[in-house]
Assembly symmetry: C2
Homo-oligomer: 324 residues x 2
Protein backbone atom coordinates (compact mmCIF):
# COMPACT_ATOMS: atom_id res chain seq x y z
CA UNK A 1 0.00 0.00 0.00
CA UNK A 2 2.72 2.43 0.96
CA UNK A 3 4.27 1.73 -2.46
CA UNK A 4 1.20 3.24 -4.15
CA UNK A 5 1.26 6.26 -1.85
CA UNK A 6 4.97 6.75 -2.46
CA UNK A 7 4.23 6.84 -6.16
CA UNK A 8 1.38 9.31 -5.65
CA UNK A 9 3.64 11.58 -3.65
CA UNK A 10 6.22 11.74 -6.45
CA UNK A 11 5.29 15.30 -7.49
CA UNK A 12 6.13 16.50 -3.95
CA UNK A 13 8.74 13.88 -3.01
CA UNK A 14 11.54 16.45 -2.72
CA UNK A 15 9.53 18.30 -0.05
CA UNK A 16 8.57 15.30 2.07
CA UNK A 17 12.10 15.02 3.44
CA UNK A 18 11.90 18.64 4.55
CA UNK A 19 8.62 17.83 6.29
CA UNK A 20 10.26 14.94 8.14
CA UNK A 21 13.13 17.22 9.16
CA UNK A 22 10.71 19.85 10.48
CA UNK A 23 8.81 17.09 12.31
CA UNK A 24 11.95 15.65 13.91
CA UNK A 25 13.39 19.05 14.84
CA UNK A 26 10.16 20.06 16.57
CA UNK A 27 10.02 16.90 18.68
CA UNK A 28 13.63 16.96 19.90
CA UNK A 29 13.94 16.82 23.70
CA UNK A 30 16.67 16.78 26.34
CA UNK A 31 14.70 14.11 28.23
CA UNK A 32 15.58 10.45 27.43
CA UNK A 33 12.07 9.18 28.20
CA UNK A 34 10.51 11.77 25.89
CA UNK A 35 13.00 10.87 23.15
CA UNK A 36 12.16 7.19 23.53
CA UNK A 37 8.40 7.81 23.24
CA UNK A 38 8.81 10.10 20.24
CA UNK A 39 11.03 7.51 18.58
CA UNK A 40 8.22 4.99 18.90
CA UNK A 41 5.68 7.47 17.53
CA UNK A 42 7.90 8.07 14.52
CA UNK A 43 7.16 4.49 13.49
CA UNK A 44 3.45 5.46 13.24
CA UNK A 45 4.37 8.03 10.60
CA UNK A 46 3.78 5.57 7.81
CA UNK A 47 1.48 6.85 5.15
CA UNK A 48 2.11 10.58 5.65
CA UNK A 49 -1.24 10.96 3.91
CA UNK A 50 -2.04 14.38 5.39
CA UNK A 51 1.32 16.01 4.53
CA UNK A 52 1.00 14.55 1.05
CA UNK A 53 -2.50 16.01 0.59
CA UNK A 54 -1.31 19.40 1.82
CA UNK A 55 1.74 19.50 -0.45
CA UNK A 56 -0.12 18.18 -3.50
CA UNK A 57 -2.86 20.78 -2.97
CA UNK A 58 -0.18 23.45 -2.75
CA UNK A 59 1.50 22.27 -5.92
CA UNK A 60 -1.81 21.91 -7.77
CA UNK A 61 -2.59 25.55 -6.89
CA UNK A 62 0.74 27.15 -7.72
CA UNK A 63 3.64 25.80 -5.73
CA UNK A 64 5.07 24.63 -2.42
CA UNK A 65 6.41 27.29 -0.01
CA UNK A 66 8.09 27.27 3.38
CA UNK A 67 4.71 27.58 5.14
CA UNK A 68 3.52 24.39 3.48
CA UNK A 69 6.47 22.40 4.81
CA UNK A 70 5.79 23.61 8.35
CA UNK A 71 2.05 23.02 8.10
CA UNK A 72 2.50 19.55 6.61
CA UNK A 73 4.58 18.63 9.67
CA UNK A 74 1.96 20.25 11.94
CA UNK A 75 -0.90 18.20 10.47
CA UNK A 76 1.09 14.97 10.78
CA UNK A 77 1.90 15.70 14.43
CA UNK A 78 -1.79 16.46 15.10
CA UNK A 79 -2.73 13.20 13.39
CA UNK A 80 -0.23 11.17 15.43
CA UNK A 81 -1.49 12.79 18.64
CA UNK A 82 -5.02 11.61 17.80
CA UNK A 83 -3.72 8.08 17.09
CA UNK A 84 -1.90 7.92 20.44
CA UNK A 85 -5.00 9.06 22.36
CA UNK A 86 -7.30 6.85 20.23
CA UNK A 87 -5.24 3.82 21.22
CA UNK A 88 -5.77 4.74 24.87
CA UNK A 89 -9.52 5.17 24.35
CA UNK A 90 -9.80 1.90 22.41
CA UNK A 91 -7.37 0.05 24.71
CA UNK A 92 -5.61 -1.05 21.51
CA UNK A 93 -2.59 -3.34 21.65
CA UNK A 94 -1.03 -2.99 18.24
CA UNK A 95 -0.52 -0.19 15.71
CA UNK A 96 1.46 -0.50 12.51
CA UNK A 97 2.48 -4.01 13.52
CA UNK A 98 4.10 -2.95 16.83
CA UNK A 99 2.93 -2.49 20.41
CA UNK A 100 1.02 0.73 21.10
CA UNK A 101 2.41 3.38 23.46
CA UNK A 102 -0.26 2.52 26.04
CA UNK A 103 0.67 -1.16 25.90
CA UNK A 104 4.41 -0.44 26.14
CA UNK A 105 4.43 2.38 28.68
CA UNK A 106 0.94 2.53 30.20
CA UNK A 107 -2.02 4.84 29.71
CA UNK A 108 -0.41 7.66 31.70
CA UNK A 109 2.55 7.97 29.34
CA UNK A 110 0.27 7.67 26.31
CA UNK A 111 -2.10 10.41 27.50
CA UNK A 112 0.84 12.72 28.21
CA UNK A 113 2.62 11.89 24.96
CA UNK A 114 -0.54 12.82 23.05
CA UNK A 115 -0.63 16.11 24.97
CA UNK A 116 3.06 16.68 24.26
CA UNK A 117 2.52 16.08 20.53
CA UNK A 118 -0.49 18.39 20.28
CA UNK A 119 1.37 21.11 22.18
CA UNK A 120 4.31 20.83 19.78
CA UNK A 121 1.97 20.91 16.80
CA UNK A 122 0.63 24.30 17.92
CA UNK A 123 4.13 25.44 18.80
CA UNK A 124 5.42 24.62 15.33
CA UNK A 125 2.33 26.24 13.81
CA UNK A 126 3.01 29.46 15.73
CA UNK A 127 6.39 29.74 13.96
CA UNK A 128 4.53 30.87 10.81
CA UNK A 129 4.18 34.63 10.53
CA UNK A 130 0.50 34.60 9.54
CA UNK A 131 -2.10 33.88 12.25
CA UNK A 132 -4.41 32.34 9.66
CA UNK A 133 -2.93 28.85 9.92
CA UNK A 134 -3.05 28.83 13.73
CA UNK A 135 -6.69 29.86 13.64
CA UNK A 136 -7.67 27.23 11.09
CA UNK A 137 -5.67 24.43 12.72
CA UNK A 138 -7.10 25.18 16.17
CA UNK A 139 -10.64 25.51 14.80
CA UNK A 140 -10.11 22.12 13.14
CA UNK A 141 -8.85 20.40 16.28
CA UNK A 142 -11.88 21.83 18.12
CA UNK A 143 -14.09 20.03 15.60
CA UNK A 144 -12.02 16.82 15.74
CA UNK A 145 -12.37 16.70 19.54
CA UNK A 146 -16.12 17.31 19.26
CA UNK A 147 -16.39 14.41 16.82
CA UNK A 148 -14.49 12.14 19.19
CA UNK A 149 -16.65 13.25 22.12
CA UNK A 150 -19.82 12.60 20.06
CA UNK A 151 -18.51 9.11 19.38
CA UNK A 152 -17.90 8.44 23.09
CA UNK A 153 -21.33 9.84 23.95
CA UNK A 154 -22.85 7.35 21.48
CA UNK A 155 -21.03 4.26 22.67
CA UNK A 156 -23.60 1.56 23.14
CA UNK A 157 -26.24 3.57 21.30
CA UNK A 158 -27.54 0.75 19.07
CA UNK A 159 -30.04 3.03 17.41
CA UNK A 160 -27.40 5.42 16.08
CA UNK A 161 -28.62 6.77 12.74
CA UNK A 162 -26.73 7.19 9.49
CA UNK A 163 -26.89 10.99 9.72
CA UNK A 164 -25.27 10.93 13.16
CA UNK A 165 -22.61 8.51 11.91
CA UNK A 166 -21.73 10.85 9.06
CA UNK A 167 -21.68 13.86 11.37
CA UNK A 168 -19.25 12.06 13.67
CA UNK A 169 -16.83 11.01 10.92
CA UNK A 170 -17.05 14.39 9.21
CA UNK A 171 -15.82 15.95 12.44
CA UNK A 172 -13.37 13.39 13.75
CA UNK A 173 -11.65 12.52 10.44
CA UNK A 174 -12.71 14.65 7.48
CA UNK A 175 -12.12 18.00 9.23
CA UNK A 176 -8.36 17.37 9.33
CA UNK A 177 -7.95 16.08 5.75
CA UNK A 178 -10.09 19.02 4.64
CA UNK A 179 -7.96 21.65 6.37
CA UNK A 180 -4.81 20.08 4.89
CA UNK A 181 -6.06 20.66 1.35
CA UNK A 182 -7.51 24.05 2.28
CA UNK A 183 -4.25 25.36 3.73
CA UNK A 184 -2.27 23.89 0.84
CA UNK A 185 -4.35 25.99 -1.53
CA UNK A 186 -4.53 29.05 0.75
CA UNK A 187 -0.78 29.41 1.21
CA UNK A 188 -0.27 28.94 -2.53
CA UNK A 189 -2.35 32.12 -2.90
CA UNK A 190 -5.23 30.33 -4.59
CA UNK A 191 -8.42 32.40 -4.94
CA UNK A 192 -11.09 31.79 -2.24
CA UNK A 193 -13.34 29.61 -4.41
CA UNK A 194 -10.44 27.30 -5.23
CA UNK A 195 -9.48 27.13 -1.56
CA UNK A 196 -13.08 26.09 -0.86
CA UNK A 197 -13.03 23.49 -3.62
CA UNK A 198 -9.92 21.87 -2.21
CA UNK A 199 -11.36 21.96 1.31
CA UNK A 200 -14.43 20.14 -0.04
CA UNK A 201 -12.21 17.62 -1.87
CA UNK A 202 -10.34 16.94 1.39
CA UNK A 203 -13.59 16.54 3.32
CA UNK A 204 -15.04 14.05 0.81
CA UNK A 205 -11.80 12.11 0.78
CA UNK A 206 -11.70 12.03 4.59
CA UNK A 207 -15.26 10.71 4.81
CA UNK A 208 -14.48 7.97 2.24
CA UNK A 209 -11.28 7.16 4.14
CA UNK A 210 -13.12 6.72 7.44
CA UNK A 211 -15.92 4.59 5.94
CA UNK A 212 -13.24 2.28 4.53
CA UNK A 213 -11.34 2.29 7.85
CA UNK A 214 -14.50 1.22 9.63
CA UNK A 215 -15.13 -1.46 6.99
CA UNK A 216 -11.62 -2.83 7.39
CA UNK A 217 -12.15 -3.05 11.17
CA UNK A 218 -15.08 -5.37 10.43
CA UNK A 219 -13.82 -7.40 7.48
CA UNK A 220 -10.00 -7.37 7.46
CA UNK A 221 -7.35 -9.22 9.48
CA UNK A 222 -4.75 -7.84 11.88
CA UNK A 223 -1.92 -9.17 9.74
CA UNK A 224 -3.25 -7.13 6.81
CA UNK A 225 -3.73 -3.84 8.67
CA UNK A 226 -1.09 -4.11 11.41
CA UNK A 227 -3.49 -2.85 14.06
CA UNK A 228 -6.05 -4.21 16.53
CA UNK A 229 -9.31 -5.02 14.73
CA UNK A 230 -12.93 -5.91 15.42
CA UNK A 231 -12.85 -3.37 18.20
CA UNK A 232 -15.51 -0.95 17.00
CA UNK A 233 -18.34 -3.35 17.79
CA UNK A 234 -16.72 -4.43 21.08
CA UNK A 235 -16.41 -0.79 22.10
CA UNK A 236 -20.02 -0.05 21.32
CA UNK A 237 -19.28 1.96 18.18
CA UNK A 238 -21.77 1.38 15.39
CA UNK A 239 -20.35 1.92 11.92
CA UNK A 240 -22.07 2.14 8.56
CA UNK A 241 -22.46 -1.58 7.67
CA UNK A 242 -23.77 -2.38 11.15
CA UNK A 243 -26.18 0.55 11.10
CA UNK A 244 -27.54 -0.82 7.81
CA UNK A 245 -27.61 -4.41 9.05
CA UNK A 246 -29.58 -3.45 12.16
CA UNK A 247 -32.00 -1.42 10.07
CA UNK A 248 -32.58 -4.05 7.37
CA UNK A 249 -32.58 -7.33 9.29
CA UNK A 250 -35.74 -8.99 10.67
CA UNK A 251 -36.74 -7.89 14.15
CA UNK A 252 -35.59 -11.12 15.87
CA UNK A 253 -32.16 -10.87 14.24
CA UNK A 254 -31.93 -7.22 15.29
CA UNK A 255 -32.59 -8.25 18.87
CA UNK A 256 -29.99 -11.03 18.80
CA UNK A 257 -27.43 -8.75 17.17
CA UNK A 258 -27.95 -5.96 19.69
CA UNK A 259 -27.63 -8.51 22.48
CA UNK A 260 -24.33 -9.76 21.05
CA UNK A 261 -23.13 -6.19 20.56
CA UNK A 262 -24.10 -5.17 24.08
CA UNK A 263 -22.26 -8.19 25.47
CA UNK A 264 -19.18 -7.19 23.44
CA UNK A 265 -19.15 -10.53 21.61
CA UNK A 266 -20.50 -9.70 18.16
CA UNK A 267 -18.50 -11.24 15.31
CA UNK A 268 -19.34 -10.92 11.59
CA UNK A 269 -19.27 -14.75 11.42
CA UNK A 270 -22.28 -14.75 13.81
CA UNK A 271 -24.62 -13.56 11.09
CA UNK A 272 -24.92 -17.02 9.53
CA UNK A 273 -28.30 -17.38 8.01
CA UNK A 274 -28.06 -13.70 7.16
CA UNK A 275 -24.63 -13.65 5.54
CA UNK A 276 -26.19 -12.43 2.30
CA UNK A 277 -27.79 -9.43 3.99
CA UNK A 278 -24.58 -8.70 5.89
CA UNK A 279 -22.58 -8.79 2.64
CA UNK A 280 -25.12 -6.39 1.11
CA UNK A 281 -24.61 -3.97 4.01
CA UNK A 282 -20.84 -4.18 3.63
CA UNK A 283 -21.31 -3.52 -0.11
CA UNK A 284 -23.62 -0.59 0.70
CA UNK A 285 -20.90 1.00 2.85
CA UNK A 286 -18.32 0.39 0.12
CA UNK A 287 -20.66 2.04 -2.38
CA UNK A 288 -21.03 5.06 -0.08
CA UNK A 289 -17.25 5.37 0.12
CA UNK A 290 -16.99 5.18 -3.67
CA UNK A 291 -19.63 7.89 -4.09
CA UNK A 292 -17.63 10.22 -1.81
CA UNK A 293 -14.54 9.44 -3.86
CA UNK A 294 -16.44 10.34 -7.05
CA UNK A 295 -17.51 13.58 -5.43
CA UNK A 296 -13.93 14.31 -4.32
CA UNK A 297 -12.60 13.75 -7.83
CA UNK A 298 -15.26 16.00 -9.32
CA UNK A 299 -14.06 18.85 -7.06
CA UNK A 300 -10.73 18.76 -8.89
CA UNK A 301 -12.29 19.33 -12.32
CA UNK A 302 -11.61 23.07 -12.46
CA UNK A 303 -7.95 22.80 -11.46
CA UNK A 304 -5.45 23.27 -14.28
CA UNK A 305 -3.96 19.97 -15.47
CA UNK A 306 -0.81 19.03 -13.50
CA UNK A 307 0.97 16.04 -12.03
CA UNK A 308 -0.28 17.16 -8.61
CA UNK A 309 -3.92 17.24 -9.73
CA UNK A 310 -3.57 13.74 -11.17
CA UNK A 311 -2.00 12.53 -7.93
CA UNK A 312 -4.86 14.04 -5.86
CA UNK A 313 -7.30 12.26 -8.12
CA UNK A 314 -5.45 8.95 -7.72
CA UNK A 315 -5.20 9.50 -3.94
CA UNK A 316 -8.98 9.59 -3.79
CA UNK A 317 -9.20 6.30 -5.68
CA UNK A 318 -6.51 4.78 -3.49
CA UNK A 319 -8.54 5.52 -0.37
CA UNK A 320 -11.25 3.02 -1.35
CA UNK A 321 -8.92 0.43 -2.85
CA UNK A 322 -6.62 0.10 0.15
CA UNK A 323 -6.65 -3.07 2.20
CA UNK A 324 -4.86 -1.66 5.27
CA UNK B 1 -9.34 30.45 51.22
CA UNK B 2 -11.22 31.74 48.22
CA UNK B 3 -12.24 34.73 50.35
CA UNK B 4 -8.57 35.77 50.64
CA UNK B 5 -8.02 35.34 46.91
CA UNK B 6 -11.15 37.32 46.14
CA UNK B 7 -9.74 40.14 48.24
CA UNK B 8 -6.37 39.91 46.48
CA UNK B 9 -8.05 40.11 43.11
CA UNK B 10 -9.85 43.36 44.05
CA UNK B 11 -7.58 45.56 41.89
CA UNK B 12 -8.61 43.55 38.81
CA UNK B 13 -12.09 42.43 39.93
CA UNK B 14 -13.83 44.37 37.15
CA UNK B 15 -11.85 42.38 34.55
CA UNK B 16 -12.39 38.91 36.01
CA UNK B 17 -16.00 38.88 34.81
CA UNK B 18 -14.79 39.61 31.29
CA UNK B 19 -12.39 36.69 31.62
CA UNK B 20 -15.23 34.39 32.65
CA UNK B 21 -17.28 35.62 29.69
CA UNK B 22 -14.40 34.95 27.26
CA UNK B 23 -13.94 31.51 28.86
CA UNK B 24 -17.63 30.62 28.56
CA UNK B 25 -17.98 31.95 25.01
CA UNK B 26 -14.99 29.92 23.84
CA UNK B 27 -16.33 26.66 25.26
CA UNK B 28 -19.86 26.94 23.85
CA UNK B 29 -20.91 23.90 21.83
CA UNK B 30 -23.94 22.66 19.88
CA UNK B 31 -23.39 19.19 21.40
CA UNK B 32 -25.32 18.43 24.64
CA UNK B 33 -22.66 15.99 25.92
CA UNK B 34 -19.90 18.56 25.38
CA UNK B 35 -21.98 21.22 27.14
CA UNK B 36 -22.55 18.88 30.08
CA UNK B 37 -18.82 18.13 30.45
CA UNK B 38 -17.84 21.79 30.17
CA UNK B 39 -20.46 22.67 32.76
CA UNK B 40 -18.79 20.26 35.18
CA UNK B 41 -15.35 21.68 34.40
CA UNK B 42 -16.61 25.17 35.15
CA UNK B 43 -16.95 24.06 38.77
CA UNK B 44 -13.17 23.46 38.83
CA UNK B 45 -12.63 27.11 38.02
CA UNK B 46 -12.42 28.04 41.66
CA UNK B 47 -9.35 30.01 42.52
CA UNK B 48 -8.74 31.57 39.09
CA UNK B 49 -5.20 32.04 40.39
CA UNK B 50 -3.58 32.17 36.94
CA UNK B 51 -5.95 34.78 35.45
CA UNK B 52 -5.49 36.81 38.62
CA UNK B 53 -1.68 36.68 38.35
CA UNK B 54 -1.85 37.68 34.70
CA UNK B 55 -4.20 40.60 35.29
CA UNK B 56 -2.36 41.83 38.40
CA UNK B 57 0.95 41.69 36.50
CA UNK B 58 -0.65 43.69 33.70
CA UNK B 59 -1.99 46.29 36.10
CA UNK B 60 1.28 46.49 38.04
CA UNK B 61 3.07 47.24 34.74
CA UNK B 62 0.71 49.78 33.27
CA UNK B 63 -2.80 48.50 32.72
CA UNK B 64 -5.14 45.76 31.57
CA UNK B 65 -5.92 45.53 27.84
CA UNK B 66 -8.12 43.34 25.66
CA UNK B 67 -5.21 40.89 25.08
CA UNK B 68 -4.91 40.34 28.81
CA UNK B 69 -8.56 39.33 29.13
CA UNK B 70 -8.19 36.79 26.32
CA UNK B 71 -4.89 35.43 27.64
CA UNK B 72 -6.21 35.16 31.20
CA UNK B 73 -9.02 32.95 29.87
CA UNK B 74 -6.49 30.98 27.78
CA UNK B 75 -4.28 30.22 30.80
CA UNK B 76 -7.28 29.15 32.89
CA UNK B 77 -8.46 26.78 30.12
CA UNK B 78 -4.93 25.33 29.82
CA UNK B 79 -4.85 24.86 33.60
CA UNK B 80 -8.23 23.10 33.67
CA UNK B 81 -7.13 20.83 30.81
CA UNK B 82 -4.13 19.74 32.90
CA UNK B 83 -6.39 19.10 35.92
CA UNK B 84 -8.76 16.93 33.85
CA UNK B 85 -5.88 14.85 32.47
CA UNK B 86 -4.12 14.75 35.87
CA UNK B 87 -7.24 13.23 37.40
CA UNK B 88 -7.13 10.50 34.73
CA UNK B 89 -3.43 9.85 35.38
CA UNK B 90 -3.94 9.79 39.15
CA UNK B 91 -7.23 7.86 38.93
CA UNK B 92 -8.61 10.55 41.26
CA UNK B 93 -12.21 10.41 42.46
CA UNK B 94 -12.88 13.87 43.78
CA UNK B 95 -11.93 17.41 42.81
CA UNK B 96 -13.25 20.55 44.45
CA UNK B 97 -15.56 18.41 46.55
CA UNK B 98 -17.32 16.78 43.56
CA UNK B 99 -16.77 13.70 41.42
CA UNK B 100 -14.03 14.01 38.78
CA UNK B 101 -14.86 13.80 35.06
CA UNK B 102 -13.18 10.38 34.85
CA UNK B 103 -15.28 9.10 37.74
CA UNK B 104 -18.52 10.51 36.32
CA UNK B 105 -18.04 9.78 32.62
CA UNK B 106 -15.06 7.43 32.32
CA UNK B 107 -11.46 7.91 31.27
CA UNK B 108 -12.36 8.17 27.58
CA UNK B 109 -14.51 11.24 28.06
CA UNK B 110 -11.95 12.79 30.42
CA UNK B 111 -9.06 12.30 27.98
CA UNK B 112 -11.11 13.82 25.16
CA UNK B 113 -12.43 16.67 27.28
CA UNK B 114 -8.83 17.59 28.17
CA UNK B 115 -7.99 17.56 24.46
CA UNK B 116 -11.06 19.65 23.70
CA UNK B 117 -10.05 22.21 26.33
CA UNK B 118 -6.45 22.48 25.16
CA UNK B 119 -7.59 22.86 21.55
CA UNK B 120 -9.94 25.67 22.55
CA UNK B 121 -7.19 27.34 24.57
CA UNK B 122 -5.00 27.58 21.45
CA UNK B 123 -8.01 28.59 19.37
CA UNK B 124 -8.82 31.45 21.72
CA UNK B 125 -5.13 32.40 21.82
CA UNK B 126 -5.02 32.60 18.01
CA UNK B 127 -7.68 35.33 18.13
CA UNK B 128 -5.00 37.77 19.31
CA UNK B 129 -3.34 39.67 16.47
CA UNK B 130 0.24 39.18 17.74
CA UNK B 131 1.86 35.76 17.32
CA UNK B 132 3.95 36.35 20.44
CA UNK B 133 1.34 35.01 22.85
CA UNK B 134 0.73 31.85 20.78
CA UNK B 135 4.45 31.15 20.69
CA UNK B 136 4.93 31.67 24.40
CA UNK B 137 1.82 29.70 25.42
CA UNK B 138 2.73 26.75 23.16
CA UNK B 139 6.37 26.82 24.33
CA UNK B 140 5.03 26.74 27.89
CA UNK B 141 2.68 23.82 27.33
CA UNK B 142 5.62 21.95 25.71
CA UNK B 143 7.51 22.41 28.98
CA UNK B 144 4.48 21.49 31.13
CA UNK B 145 4.04 18.22 29.20
CA UNK B 146 7.76 17.45 29.57
CA UNK B 147 7.48 17.97 33.33
CA UNK B 148 4.50 15.62 33.50
CA UNK B 149 6.32 13.02 31.38
CA UNK B 150 9.39 13.30 33.64
CA UNK B 151 7.12 12.67 36.60
CA UNK B 152 5.64 9.56 35.00
CA UNK B 153 9.11 8.33 34.02
CA UNK B 154 10.12 8.65 37.70
CA UNK B 155 7.16 6.84 39.19
CA UNK B 156 8.53 4.31 41.63
CA UNK B 157 12.00 5.86 41.50
CA UNK B 158 12.65 5.88 45.27
CA UNK B 159 16.07 7.45 44.81
CA UNK B 160 14.68 10.57 43.10
CA UNK B 161 16.90 13.50 44.08
CA UNK B 162 15.91 16.97 45.17
CA UNK B 163 17.32 18.54 41.98
CA UNK B 164 15.16 16.28 39.83
CA UNK B 165 12.13 17.05 41.98
CA UNK B 166 12.65 20.78 41.50
CA UNK B 167 13.19 20.33 37.76
CA UNK B 168 9.90 18.45 37.49
CA UNK B 169 7.83 21.02 39.41
CA UNK B 170 9.53 23.92 37.65
CA UNK B 171 8.31 22.46 34.38
CA UNK B 172 4.92 21.03 35.27
CA UNK B 173 3.67 23.88 37.48
CA UNK B 174 5.95 26.94 37.58
CA UNK B 175 6.22 27.29 33.78
CA UNK B 176 2.53 28.20 33.53
CA UNK B 177 2.38 30.65 36.47
CA UNK B 178 5.56 32.20 35.10
CA UNK B 179 4.18 32.77 31.61
CA UNK B 180 1.03 34.30 33.11
CA UNK B 181 3.05 37.02 34.82
CA UNK B 182 5.36 37.38 31.82
CA UNK B 183 2.52 37.92 29.35
CA UNK B 184 0.74 40.25 31.76
CA UNK B 185 3.83 42.48 31.75
CA UNK B 186 4.61 42.00 28.03
CA UNK B 187 1.20 43.09 26.78
CA UNK B 188 1.27 46.07 29.15
CA UNK B 189 4.35 47.17 27.16
CA UNK B 190 6.71 46.71 30.09
CA UNK B 191 10.42 46.89 29.19
CA UNK B 192 12.17 43.49 28.71
CA UNK B 193 13.89 43.45 32.11
CA UNK B 194 10.59 44.01 33.89
CA UNK B 195 8.95 41.27 31.81
CA UNK B 196 11.77 38.98 32.96
CA UNK B 197 11.36 40.03 36.60
CA UNK B 198 7.69 39.17 36.53
CA UNK B 199 8.37 35.86 34.79
CA UNK B 200 10.83 35.05 37.60
CA UNK B 201 8.27 36.11 40.23
CA UNK B 202 5.70 33.78 38.62
CA UNK B 203 8.19 30.92 38.51
CA UNK B 204 9.15 31.28 42.19
CA UNK B 205 5.50 31.50 43.17
CA UNK B 206 4.68 28.39 41.12
CA UNK B 207 7.45 26.38 42.74
CA UNK B 208 6.30 27.43 46.22
CA UNK B 209 2.71 26.60 45.24
CA UNK B 210 3.61 23.08 44.13
CA UNK B 211 5.75 22.34 47.20
CA UNK B 212 2.76 23.31 49.36
CA UNK B 213 0.39 21.28 47.16
CA UNK B 214 2.59 18.23 47.64
CA UNK B 215 2.77 18.89 51.39
CA UNK B 216 -1.02 19.13 51.63
CA UNK B 217 -1.33 15.77 49.82
CA UNK B 218 0.72 14.27 52.67
CA UNK B 219 -0.57 16.16 55.70
CA UNK B 220 -4.07 17.49 54.96
CA UNK B 221 -7.52 15.89 54.86
CA UNK B 222 -9.90 15.46 51.93
CA UNK B 223 -12.56 17.56 53.65
CA UNK B 224 -10.06 20.43 53.87
CA UNK B 225 -8.87 20.31 50.25
CA UNK B 226 -11.91 18.87 48.46
CA UNK B 227 -9.77 16.49 46.43
CA UNK B 228 -8.34 12.97 46.65
CA UNK B 229 -5.27 12.92 48.90
CA UNK B 230 -2.38 10.70 49.92
CA UNK B 231 -2.12 9.67 46.29
CA UNK B 232 1.40 10.89 45.53
CA UNK B 233 3.03 8.13 47.56
CA UNK B 234 0.53 5.52 46.32
CA UNK B 235 1.30 6.51 42.75
CA UNK B 236 5.04 6.26 43.24
CA UNK B 237 5.62 10.02 43.22
CA UNK B 238 8.25 11.15 45.71
CA UNK B 239 7.79 14.70 46.92
CA UNK B 240 10.08 16.95 48.91
CA UNK B 241 9.34 15.78 52.49
CA UNK B 242 9.61 12.12 51.47
CA UNK B 243 12.86 12.73 49.57
CA UNK B 244 14.25 14.30 52.74
CA UNK B 245 12.86 11.57 54.99
CA UNK B 246 14.41 8.82 52.87
CA UNK B 247 17.73 10.65 52.85
CA UNK B 248 17.88 11.43 56.57
CA UNK B 249 16.39 8.30 58.18
CA UNK B 250 18.49 5.32 59.34
CA UNK B 251 19.12 2.65 56.72
CA UNK B 252 16.64 0.13 58.18
CA UNK B 253 13.87 2.74 58.22
CA UNK B 254 14.70 3.69 54.65
CA UNK B 255 14.27 0.06 53.62
CA UNK B 256 10.94 -0.29 55.42
CA UNK B 257 9.68 2.98 54.01
CA UNK B 258 10.63 2.08 50.44
CA UNK B 259 8.93 -1.30 50.90
CA UNK B 260 5.75 0.40 52.10
CA UNK B 261 5.95 2.92 49.24
CA UNK B 262 6.51 0.20 46.65
CA UNK B 263 3.52 -1.72 47.98
CA UNK B 264 1.42 1.45 47.72
CA UNK B 265 0.59 1.37 51.43
CA UNK B 266 2.78 4.10 52.93
CA UNK B 267 0.95 6.38 55.36
CA UNK B 268 2.55 9.24 57.32
CA UNK B 269 1.22 7.60 60.49
CA UNK B 270 3.52 4.63 59.75
CA UNK B 271 6.60 6.60 60.72
CA UNK B 272 6.00 6.13 64.45
CA UNK B 273 9.29 6.03 66.23
CA UNK B 274 10.48 8.57 63.66
CA UNK B 275 7.66 11.07 63.87
CA UNK B 276 10.11 13.75 64.97
CA UNK B 277 12.27 13.24 61.90
CA UNK B 278 9.20 13.14 59.66
CA UNK B 279 7.94 16.42 61.14
CA UNK B 280 11.39 17.94 60.52
CA UNK B 281 11.19 16.90 56.87
CA UNK B 282 7.72 18.41 56.53
CA UNK B 283 9.08 21.56 58.15
CA UNK B 284 12.07 21.52 55.77
CA UNK B 285 9.70 21.46 52.77
CA UNK B 286 7.64 24.26 54.27
CA UNK B 287 10.83 26.27 54.77
CA UNK B 288 11.77 25.73 51.12
CA UNK B 289 8.35 26.98 50.04
CA UNK B 290 8.77 30.07 52.24
CA UNK B 291 12.19 30.80 50.76
CA UNK B 292 10.72 30.73 47.23
CA UNK B 293 8.00 33.07 48.41
CA UNK B 294 10.65 35.44 49.80
CA UNK B 295 12.44 35.29 46.48
CA UNK B 296 9.19 35.94 44.59
CA UNK B 297 8.43 38.99 46.73
CA UNK B 298 11.94 40.37 46.22
CA UNK B 299 11.38 40.28 42.45
CA UNK B 300 8.62 42.86 42.91
CA UNK B 301 10.90 45.40 44.64
CA UNK B 302 11.59 47.50 41.55
CA UNK B 303 7.95 47.81 40.51
CA UNK B 304 6.33 51.19 41.22
CA UNK B 305 4.05 51.11 44.27
CA UNK B 306 0.49 50.12 43.35
CA UNK B 307 -2.48 48.15 44.64
CA UNK B 308 -1.60 45.46 42.07
CA UNK B 309 1.99 45.16 43.30
CA UNK B 310 0.74 44.80 46.88
CA UNK B 311 -1.72 42.13 45.76
CA UNK B 312 1.04 40.18 43.96
CA UNK B 313 3.10 40.33 47.11
CA UNK B 314 0.19 39.08 49.22
CA UNK B 315 -0.56 36.37 46.65
CA UNK B 316 2.92 34.97 47.20
CA UNK B 317 2.36 34.89 50.96
CA UNK B 318 -1.06 33.33 50.50
CA UNK B 319 0.47 30.43 48.56
CA UNK B 320 2.29 29.11 51.63
CA UNK B 321 -0.44 29.92 54.12
CA UNK B 322 -3.23 28.11 52.31
CA UNK B 323 -4.69 24.94 53.76
CA UNK B 324 -6.42 23.74 50.60
Amino acid sequence: MNAILTQLSNPVAEHLNDVIQAFDAELESDQPFVRELCGRVRAYRGKMLRPMLLLLSARACGGVRREHIVLAAVTEIVHLATLVHDDVLDDADIRRGGATINRLHGNEAAVLLGDYLISHAYHLCSSIESQHAARRIAATTNVVCEGELMQVANRGNWSLGEDEYFEIIRRKTAALTSVCCELGAYFADAPPDRVEQLAAYGSDLGIAFQIVDDLLDLTSTESETGKSLGRDADLGKLTLPMIQFLRRSPEAVQGQTVQALAAGRFRPADVNGHAGLFAECVEYAGGMARSYVQSAMARLADLPASDARDALSSAAEFVVQRRS
